[in-house]
């Protein structure tokens, strides 16, 4: 501490220790924020069509088309350590092999508390709903769930589920009208 350089060294090393303690305290404090907001999903329609598989010109495959309404107020998840939310709609069903499949159909990134009331009226799946075995025949009914991933500035990612529907029977595939 006798020279200016020694004092800079001493203060900055103590500063970095205190910064780590501060960040750890922030990360710990957000573990106690246990908001568990609930919303609802309505699946308006679920249709399956035969269509050409991409990249395979002679192969036909079944594609599911979902129309849904979402109403979920996720603003309680926004506290001082929330950076953004990743909100996503998942379809879950068991295929003929008994394998449980989950497919992300739709997602949204929420960056501000003002946008955290997620309302979607007759939304359609952004991502393709298709089976690895090419057909939804004899699969179990599909349940749809709205899930979120809370990303903090400091600390651990938090996952949660805001809504879940009853099982929806996946209908027979229809031929698309040309």
């Amino acid at each position: 501490m006798h020279s200016a350089l020694a004092r800079i060294n001493n203060v900055s090393s103590l500063f970095s220790t205190c910064l780590m303690v501060l960040l750890a305290a922030v990360a710990l404090s957000s573990l106690f924020a246990t908001a568990d907001p609930k919303g609802k999903i309505d699946v308006v329609s679920l249709k399956v069509y035969n269509a050409k598989a991409k990249r395979y010109p002679f192969k036909e495959q079944e594609f599911g088309f979902v129309k849904f309404d979402i109403d979920a107020d996720l603003s309680p998840l926004f506290h001082w350590n929330t950076k953004q939310l990743f909100v996503y709609l998942e379809a879950e069903y068991a295929n003929t092999q008994g394998v449980n499949n989950t497919i992300v159909l739709w997602d949204r990134i929420v960056r501000r508390k003002e946008d955290a009331h997620v309302v979607v009226a007759s939304g359609r799946n952004k991502y393709k709903l298709k089976e690895l075995y090419e057909s939804f025949k004899n699969t179990s009914p599909a349940t749809f769930s709205l899930k979120y991933n809370m990303m903090p500035y400091v600390g651990l990612l938090m996952y949660g589920e805001a809504a879940r529907t009853e099982g929806h029977e996946i209908p027979e595939a229809r031929d698309a009208i040309a």
Partner: protein
Amino acid sequence: MAPLQDIIEGKIDFIGQKRVDSISRIWLAASTVVSFVVGFALQSLRATMGTFALSTLLLFVMAVPPWPVYNRHPVEWRK
């Protein structure tokens, strides 16, 4: 050259060194607690980091230059 070296080196006496040490400890510990409380009260991490950064800058201004306060007890050498 020598006066410039003295300014850069910034020597302070033993009692001054002890003082700087305790000031920086207490100041940093207190500002950690205060900035957490401020950020939690305002619900903003920006406030936490801003308070902590400003108080650390203030501490650098207080502790690093050889202020005359830290040179009030020069060592008296036997003649």
